[in-house]
């Protein structure tokens, strides 16, 4: 399982009601069902991912967040609302964040950190939009229309009076992990936040 998913899994309490927005092939929810007996639901739009979830026995609901939103789901119905590496791809991330906090007592969000030093260097040296392992798309076909950084996200949280409960920094390079905790905006590849209102 991806390192960011492992961290998230640790943050989720047993028996929790979990909503995973953009749940992919259901890896996280399946893992949480097996290890923590959670009641999970995934929202997804990709047909192959939906079938993969069904094959894993993960509850999956075909719903396009950008088209239908989340208005059909009830206020504070979930213990945790998770969105892994998808906030940067939705049309209105700030409103999405409000909606997630309406549905869940807390939210866990992960996103690629656009201020990671290699991305900065890429842009600085090549003068072109960075393409990397975590951001494998070219500028014209990327689903990532709202890329941001650790600092950007925390500024948004401050503006919205959203409390950051926990933060984790993911860096492929094991040796940089410790240093990345101290300088996340420079050294973190993926940001993980647990937030609440």
């Amino acid at each position: 399982m991806r390192i960011d998913l492992q961290i998230i899994a640790e943050w989720i309490q047993p028996q929790a009601r979990v909503l995973d927005l953009g749940c992919g092939d259901g890896t996280l929810l399946s893992h949480l069902q097996d290890t923590k007996s959670i009641l999970g639901y995934g929202l997804e739009i990709d047909p192959f991912n939906i079938t993969a979830c069904i094959q894993k026995g993960v509850n999956v609901i075909e719903q396009d967040l950008d088209v239908k939103g989340l208005a059909n789901l009830r206020h504070q119905h979930f213990d945790v609302v998770v969105m892994t590496q998808a906030l940067q791809a939705v049309r209105q991330p700030d409103i999405m964040l409000d909606e997630m906090l309406r549905l869940g007592k807390e939210c866990i969000i992960t996103f690629p950190n656009f201020a990671y030093w290699k991305l900065r260097l890429y842009l600085l040296s090549k003068g072109r939009m960075p393409v990397s392992k975590t951001l494998p798309y070219t500028w014209y076909n990327t689903p990532n229309i709202h890329l941001c950084t650790f600092r950007d996200f925390e500024a948004l949280c401050r503006d919205k009076n959203i409390r950051v409960l926990r933060r984790a920094v993911v860096n492929d390079d094991q040796e940089s992990q410790t240093l990345a905790q101290r300088f996340p905006n420079w050294l973190g590849q993926i940001a993980i936040y647990q937030v609440t209102k």
Partner: protein, 385 residues
């Protein structure tokens, strides 16, 4: 005429009859003193009796869901696309039961049956049954077959409503409900179309207040019109456009008003006529009423989430993009209520051009989703041993 059947067919099948002599109390206040249900089964019931699937039919369906009754049959059962070895409801794993519902005209007790009180056919005196009544009669069939718990109850359209009702009325007796191209209740528009169908039948001079059988007659014309209206609601604009467009039967307009000039006209007439020769008008009236009345939330102040609180099974809900009879939004209402009630549910909206009828057509993605879900059930059944 197939002398051999396709490899993924259940092959030659025959109907069986279950007789029930304990009166069945109905929602309308009346009761049926005795009745029979005609049904078919495919596949083999396992030793633990845990692999049984109940198939519920829609408005004009019957117990003949899959396979062939004889080598001369031109067509297999109505859901042969989804039932058989290697198909979503895989008869190598499941024991499949499909019955003709009460009030039907394919062999179960209904308007064509003899009323024990009068010695004549019931005709219009057959009580107006409901989805709840059907489910109660299906519980007795399950008892008769020695099936304490269905691995799944599965149905499309009106059949899906029965699966949903099972989950609410008999939560301990099913593991999964598969609700396809269905709705938690009819809209005013749905009821309006049913009313047109009913008026077509009732205003046929051959209807005779429903006692046409006694006069050796039948409101064929009315039934034909009813089916034509119904048929329009089963297809999408796109499907009709692709199939017929504005194609004419002859080269040019005839400037007449009576003949079917467009292909779509003659198609509808043909479908309506064929149907009117094989279906009972009183049953059609009754089935449309069953649809109109269905509203499991009504007992819970209109709150569907509340209605589903005691359900214990897991759900698969499937809708089709071009179905305007029971549109995806109607399925989504059900899904939202299920999530609200903290029930396990998966939902897929299949992009298919065929309208409501799409639940009978083996679109690749539909089959993938349906098969994947049923395979999970097959695994559960196996692991439980």
């Amino acid at each position: 005429m197939p002398t051999t059947f396709p490899a993924d067919s259940v092959g030659l099948v025959s109907a069986q009859v279950a007789e029930f002599s304990v009166p069945l109390a109905l929602e309308c206040g009346k009761s049926l003193p005795s009745y029979q249900l005609v049904y078919e089964t495919y596949g083999t019931l396992n030793a633990g009796r845990s692999n049984a699937i109940l198939i519920c039919h829609a408005l004009s369906g019957s117990h003949h869901a899959a396979g062939y009754h004889s080598h001369d049959d031109a067509k297999p059962g109505w859901w042969d696309t989804c039932i058989g070895p290697g198909k979503p409801i895989d008869t190598r794993h499941f024991f499949v039961v499909c019955l003709n519902n009460l009030g039907g005209c394919a062999g179960s007790t209904g308007p064509l049956s003899q009323n024990p009180e009068t010695g004549r056919q019931y005709g219009p005196d057959f009580p107006v049954v409901t989805v709840k009544d059907w489910v109660n009669s299906q519980v007795r069939l399950a008892d008769f077959l020695g099936i304490q718990r269905w691995a799944a109850v599965v149905g499309g359209s009106l059949g899906g409503m029965q699966a949903l009702q099972w989950s609410i009325s008999h939560p301990d007796r099913l593991g999964h409900a598969v609700v396809i191209a269905s709705t938690p209740k009819l809209s005013a528009q749905n009821i309006a179309f049913n009313e047109v169908a009913r008026r077509a039948i009732i205003s046929d001079p051959e209807f005779h207040q429903g006692r046409y059988l006694e006069k050796n007659s039948a409101p064929r014309n009315g039934l034909m019109l009813a089916r034509m209206v119904g048929h329009i609601t089963y297809l999408s604009n796109v499907a009709m456009g692709e199939k017929f467009g504005r194609e004419l039967r002859d080269q040019a307009f005839k400037f007449g008003l009576l003949d079917a000039e467009f292909q779509v006209e003659s198609y509808l007439r043909y479908q309506g006529e064929r149907f009117s020769q094989n279906f009972d008008a009183n049953t059609y009236l009754l089935m449309t009423r069953v649809l109109d009345y269905f509203d499991p939330a009504a007992d819970f102040g209109g709150d569907l989430t509340q209605a589903l609180t005691h359900a214990k099974c897991k759900f698969l809900v499937v809708a089709f993009s071009t179905d305007w009879r029971f549109s995806p939004e109607r399925s989504e209402e059900l899904v939202s209520a299920l999530v609200g009630a903290s029930k396990c549910v998966s939902y897929a909206e299949i992009d298919a051009p065929h309208g409501h009828d799409a639940f009978l057509i083996p679109t690749q993605r539909y089959i993938d989703v349906f098969s994947s879900y049923m395979q999970r059930i097959a695994q559960e059944v196996t692991h439980a041993h």
